[in-house]
């Protein structure tokens, strides 16, 4: 197990450098002079311009600039936004908000996916199953911003169950509507995977053995079927993490939640290159780490996977 973790961490190295280099290179191509933008209307003297350029290593070749940037990242400094705030500061303010939203959304997604998927599988071909299939297809094809607007219009504006926008007041209890929207848009894939997985598991020998031992259904289904059916759903939630990140960005924008995604969105509107790089880099790092974590989770769920290669 330890050697597997080390091997996976080593595989992360080229991915990390490649992804950050790619994004850095893209923003390096961005037109416009960031220093000139820093000074605003008053043109600086050539000496001052050169000094500031040297301070930000802008007089150096591309790879040297990238080296300084990565060096900063490893020292825990993610860079500075255009307004002069450190990205770390912005992250420590916005990341908890997005974290709350994401955890609630994943919770709603999993609860719905597991319950609906299992019941669908147990009643294969019946009305409930067909209904769930249609609903999941609709949510699968509906872009998240459509789900968000429909939720905002019907649940918040028409029925008044929730506040249509969130703003500064964003504790756990305030985030229900955006979390439901995000969870619903993620739930379709998981639910269909769960259904297929439960159907597979129901045909396994150990399930037949469990029944023939005389175990009741309420014991066989949760203990013998559910636990073994969860693996594809968990795997999918890792590969689907990108969808979650993008979904969170859109949801935060629509409901005006001051999270990481909304900050990224505001930065793109203002064309703040360095801020965009920092945030997308943070997203990529989180994405890669989540995938690693899920890989390691398999071992706990399925004792057959032991990583001895």
């Amino acid at each position: 197990m330890l050697s597997y973790i080390i091997r996976r961490l080593l595989q992360l190295i080229p991915v990390f450098f490649g992804a950050t280099l790619l994004i850095y290179a893209l923003v390096f191509l961005m037109p416009g002079d960031p220093i000139a933008a820093l000074f605003g209307d008053k043109p600086p003297s050539p000496q001052l311009l050169a000094a500031v350029r040297a301070q930000y290593h802008l007089d150096q070749p591309f790879l040297v600039q990238y080296y300084y940037y990565i060096l900063g990242v490893f020292q825990g400094d993610m860079g500075t936004t255009f307004s002069g705030q450190s990205v770390n500061e912005v992250l420590s303010r916005t990341l908890p908000v997005t974290g709350r939203l994401a955890i609630m959304a994943i919770g709603i997604e999993f609860t719905l996916a597991i319950i609906v998927g299992t019941v669908s599988a147990l009643r294969k071909g019946k009305i409930f199953d067909n209904g769930a299939l249609v609903v999941s297809l609709v949510f699968l094809s509906m872009p998240i911003f459509v789900v968000a607007f429909l939720g905002q219009y019907f649940l918040a504006i028409k029925l008044g169950w929730f506040r249509p926008t969130i703003g500064g007041q964003n504790d756990w209890g305030d985030l229900w509507l955006p979390a439901i929207v995000l969870g619903l848009s993620l739930f379709a894939t998981s639910m269909r995977l769960m259904r297929g997985s439960v159907l597979d598991t129901l045909n396994q020998d150990w399930v037949r053995t469990a029944y023939s031992k005389g175990l009741p259904r309420y014991r066989v289904i949760p203990v013998h079927v559910l636990r073994n059916s969860l693996i594809p759903v968990i795997t999918n939630s890792a590969t689907n993490f990108g969808v979650l990140l993008v979904g969170a960005t859109v949801t935060e924008h629509i409901f005006n939640i001051p999270g990481v995604g909304n900050t990224l969105f505001q930065a793109t509107l203002k064309h703040e290159g360095p801020t965009i790089v920092s945030f997308v880099t943070v997203f990529v790092i989180i994405y890669v780490l989540v995938n690693l974590l899920v890989d390691l989770l398999y071992g706990l769920l399925d004792p057959r996977i032991r990583y001895v290669r």
Partner: protein, 313 residues
């Protein structure tokens, strides 16, 4: 002994045709595609999705068949939030634009971005996956690591960065490049796995033994036999690209505000959601139904081409 005749009985030889096991070769031999087609054409959902796709394609190719309102000219502020009228069945937006006409004209943008992005991502994915799977060794190692890098960046986020960088070239082609250029990694993985399976086949060895070059064999025999999953993925990624276009345009980094696309329609209707919800709901329905048709089509083709899934139904 020579003139002595043997007097035993010889049964008369009758002419009888030799009996062999008969193999009736009527019709063409069964193949993956033929079996799949036979399965598909019996399924009503296939024809429904195909009809929706055909309708949207028709709309995109010849919008004037569906509406007489010319593009961008259907806006009269006096019609702001107006209800349905003759020739304008879905009413007007807050800006007084004909919703139905904008839907018809917008289908062209959504579909061309979707098709172009899918062509780009499938093309790159096919080349990278085929080379990695077929040649193996260091080629595989390098190409698969590059794929890992692209896989680790959610492609809509990457497209946000690309479109911010090239903000003065916001048109259909750059948007398709931004989406397709970052969405190919999962296609490459699937193609690579399929090529790994196919390259073990006897006909590949035979082709090499008959003197065809390695690359020639890859193009002539390996890729055609590994193309089925790519077709399915392409249909699904067409759906995903249409959603990506709408999402990026909605976020304000996709197509400019003067381009007619479903993403723009939804984005512009957002500010008047409270007073004119229908201006948002109609383009949302158009987008959802189109994406749904492509997803259904992709899944039905996938099931039809997979003998195991066919058997379990």
């Amino acid at each position: 002994m020579s003139d002595e005749k043997s007097a035993h009985y010889v049964a008369p030889v009758t002419e009888a045709a030799p009996v062999t096991d008969a193999v009736v070769v009527s019709g063409k031999p069964a193949s993956l595609w033929r079996d799949g087609w036979r399965d598909l054409r019996r399924r009503p959902m296939f024809w429904i999705s195909l009809a929706v796709v055909a309708l949207v394609l028709l709309m995109a190719a010849w919008p004037t068949l569906f509406t007489q309102t010319p593009p961008n000219n259907g806006c009269e502020l006096s019609n702001s939030n107006g209800g349905p009228a003759a020739g304008h069945p879905l009413g007007y937006t807050f800006q007084g634009c004909d919703i139905y006409a904008r839907l018809v004209w917008g289908s062209r943008t959504s579909l061309s971005v979707g098709l172009l992005a899918t062509l780009i991502s499938s093309g790159i994915g096919l080349i990278m996956g085929a080379l990695a799977g077929y040649y193996g060794g260091w080629v595989d190692a390098v190409l698969s690591r590059i794929g890992d890098i692209f896989f680790s960046i959610p492609y809509i986020l990457a497209a946000v960065v690309v479109m911010t960088v090239f903000s003065q070239f916001r048109n259909v082609l750059t948007l398709a490049l931004a989406i397709g250029g970052f969405a190919w990694a999962s296609t490459a993985r699937v193609v690579r796995a399929e090529i790994l399976r196919v390259r073990q086949a006897e006909y590949v060895t035979a082709s090499r033994a008959l003197g065809r070059s390695r690359f020639g064999t890859l193009v002539a025999h390996v890729v055609p036999n590994a193309i089925a999953p790519l077709l399915v993925l392409a249909t699904l990624s067409l759906a995903a690209s249409i959603v990506a276009e709408a999402t990026l345009t909605f976020l304000g980094v996709g197509l400019g505000g003067d381009t007619m696309s479903w993403g723009n329609d939804i984005s512009q209707a957002q500010s008047s959601l409270r007073v004119a919800p229908m201006a948002l709901i109609y383009p949302s329905i158009a987008l959802t139904v189109t994406v749904l048709a492509f997803i259904m089509l992709g899944e039905l083709i996938r099931d039809a081409l997979d003998p195991r899934a066919r058997a379990s139904r």
